[in-house]
């Protein structure tokens, strides 16, 4: 039993980081009031660039480049939605489409249609003390990204609630005009948040191609970006909430896989398709039961116009 639990935990921890980073990226951008449906595209850019970069340089550096690529796409989003106050949903969706088709095109022109060549994967760390300890052992043997994903939400939470910059971010998402009248730059704050969100989403993508796999694979991230958005909403736009929701999704998936392998008998009664749908169904049911009164930032999605009163 303990072993099963450990396998379950391990599997969750291994799969969750990409989702966690991307969800945090969404939170960062949206807390500042900029809708970010382009997470999927930013992840794809991050995954692609990280893998390509890692062909020529150490993988960690590749990850950094992947993050920058995510931020690059986010910059387009920012330019259109902050500088030009375009519709944020439109520009986000556009980024997704361009990243999807453009990624496929670049991949096939540069490498093979299905993926880049293999790169050196991010190393896995064996934690000396707990390795092999029942249950706790699940914490060992992950790449650095997993540990980062366990720490980052708390750091983000602390920054958001306990630092001046966090206070300003929260304020700019709720009432940008108030922030502007205090001589702070609404545009600056939003730019920062959008680019930061892009970095995080790019990191989420980079994790997929450098830690989960050892190459960029053509379908990456296969809808994970939208899952991240769901995690963000489910987590009520808070870093810890998003973290919890993302972990929950990853756990649900791991649970399905674990069930299928450790209790194949179950499949006689519950078809595989049900198990696959389980995490999503659970989320829907949870949302339906608890309700989800809007906890979105008040100014979310409304472009800031200095002179609108």
């Amino acid at each position: 039993m303990l072993e099963l639990l450990e396998a379950l935990l391990f599997s969750t921890l291994d799969a969750a980081p990409a989702l966690i980073f991307a969800a945090l990226g969404g939170v960062l951008s949206e807390r500042a009031g900029v809708v970010n449906v382009g997470v999927e595209g930013q992840m794809r850019a991050g995954a692609f660039c990280a893998a390509v970069a890692a062909l020529f340089m150490p993988t960690p550096l590749g990850v950094v480049l992947g993050m920058l690529a995510g931020a690059g796409l986010a910059a387009i989003h920012g330019y259109l939605s902050i500088r030009w106050r375009s519709d944020q949903v439109v520009s986000g969706m556009a980024i997704n489409l361009v990243a999807l088709a453009g990624g496929t095109f670049l991949l096939e022109s540069l490498y093979s249609p299905n993926g880049t060549p293999a790169i050196e994967q991010l190393p896995r760390w064996t934690l000396p003390l707990i390795h092999g300890v029942p249950l706790l052992g699940a914490l060992s043997e992950h790449s650095g990204m997993t540990y980062l994903a366990l720490v980052l939400p708390f750091v983000f939470h602390a920054v958001l609630t306990h630092t001046p910059i966090g206070l300003r971010l929260r304020a700019v998402g709720e009432k940008p005009h108030a922030v502007a009248t205090l001589g702070l730059s609404v545009q600056g704050l939003r730019w920062g948040a959008v680019l930061g969100g892009g970095l995080l989403a790019g990191l989420g993508g980079a994790v997929l191609s450098t830690a989960v796999l050892d190459r960029f694979e053509q379908h990456t991230p296969a809808g994970l970006g939208f899952m991240a958005l769901a995690a963000m909403v489910f987590g009520r736009w808070t870093p810890l909430g998003a973290f919890g929701a993302a972990s929950f999704f990853a756990f649900g998936n791991a649970l399905r896989i674990g069930l299928a392998s450790s209790a194949p008998g179950i499949l006689e009664f519950i078809p595989q398709g049900f198990l696959l749908a389980l995490p999503y169904l659970l989320t829907l049911i949870l949302l339906a039961v608890q309700g989800q009164r809007s906890s979105a930032p008040a100014a979310l999605g409304t472009p800031y116009e200095q002179e609108s009163r």
């Binding site: 969706m93 997704n96 999807l100 095109f105 909403v233 989320t283 829907l284 949302l287 339906a288």
Partner: protein, 370 residues
């Protein structure tokens, strides 16, 4: 009228710009001749190979491509309208894909499990698809209106649920067709010919009733939205829910109706795919037309007429895009063009301002302060 055309200008320019950018991309990776040829091939694939026909070729070189373009356009019209209708009611329907999946399945089941006279069978199958799609969408509407669950998250979830339940359970489980011997088949049982959407141009072209039907549906949606009191109320509910409520409009009901209609439209798209060309629910439902619908709707200004024109254009583009492969040009260009067009639509303020600045030399009218 002039006003309406003016509203369409950014979209038209965006699409043109996207075409230019992609042409340059091909020219850079290959050469200019290949790029131009590729576009020519795309044109042939989209609207027919007219030169060859005029040279005394077979009629098939025209009607076959037209049939393909029309089938694609029909799907895009329906999913585009699905997204647009929801937008009009203030809802963002990311769930057209899932609604299309359940609609397609319903059509496949009614088409294969029920036997009836053709005059009855086809309408029944279409109806089943519309109802299934509508019900699926109404789950999201109910969650939104009574539990406050944001429709973006619920429709994303419902997409996953539909795809996994249908593709990984129903199609490979209970609905798997009986197969003699160990043959591999994908998808559900084949539907009866009575449920086929009739072919309009004979056997050489796959042009079927789905296309005129989609056009008729678009006209219906347009009339409903623009001409009827209900449509007016729905638009008011979408643009200003509080004001609409104060004006005595049952906002929740109108939103639910619109979402139901959106689902029905996406479901019909599934039916057109199944009853028009596939004749069964395939192992995995076609290209992600439900997601394409979002782009189509946004490029078409969320307006039934704009959506229809956009869908016709991209239907032809995508049907023709396959022919680009004959030149070794990558298969994802039609999607890339679509994505770029949407990006340019999103960024229209930028280049409109640039254009305006060039026209009126000194003072640019309303460039926002940085």
């Amino acid at each position: 009228m002039g006003e309406r055309w003016r509203a369409a200008v950014p979209s038209i320019l965006s699409v043109a710009l996207a075409l230019v950018v992609c042409w340059i991309a091909i020219a850079l990776t290959r050469d200019t001749e290949v790029a131009s040829n590729a576009y020519l091939q795309m044109l042939y694939g989209g609207i027919g190979q007219w030169p060859r026909y005029l040279d005394g070729g077979d009629l098939a070189v025209i009607v076959r491509p037209l049939g393909e373009a029309a089938s694609k356009a029909a799907l895009l019209i329906l999913t585009g309208l699905s997204v647009a209708v929801a937008f009009k009611a203030g809802l963002f329907n990311i769930g057209a894909q899932g609604q299309m999946v359940v609609g397609a399945l319903a059509a496949a089941v009614v088409g294969a499990q029920l036997s009836a006279h053709a005059l009855l069978h086809l309408p029944l199958a279409l109806l089943a698809a519309a109802v299934a799609g509508a019900l699926w969408a109404l789950i999201a509407a109910a969650l939104k209106l009574w539990r406050g669950v944001h429709e973006v998250i619920s429709t994303i979830m419902l997409n996953w649920v539909a795809v996994t339940l249908v593709d990984n359970w129903l199609v490979v489980g209970p609905l798997r067709p009986t197969v003699t011997g160990g043959h591999s088949v994908s998808g559900t049982a084949e539907i009866f010919p009575t449920a086929h959407l009739p072919r309009l141009l004979g056997d050489i072209s796959r042009m079927n009733l789905g296309f005129p039907m989609a056009l008729a549906v678009a006209a219906f949606v347009w009339a409903w939205l623009i001409r009827t009191r209900r449509g007016f109320e729905t638009r008011a509910a979408g643009l200003g829910p509080e004001a609409a409520r104060a004006a005595g409009i049952p906002v929740k009901q109108r939103m639910a109706e619109a979402m139901g209609l959106a689902g029905a439209l996406a479901g019909l798209a599934g039916a057109v795919l199944v009853l028009g060309t596939e004749f069964r629910y395939p192992g995995v439902l076609g290209a992600p037309y439900g997601f394409d619908g979002i782009a189509i709707s946004l490029i078409g200004n969320n307006n039934p007429l704009g959506v229809t024109i956009t869908a016709l254009f991209f239907g032809a583009l995508r049907a023709g895009g396959t022919r680009m492969q004959l030149l070794g040009v990558h298969k994802s260009f039609p999607e890339l063009i679509q994505g770029l067009a949407l990006l340019f639509v999103a960024g229209r303020l930028v280049w409109l301002a640039l254009l305006r600045r060039r026209r009126t030399q000194p003072a640019s009218a309303e460039v926002p302060r940085a």
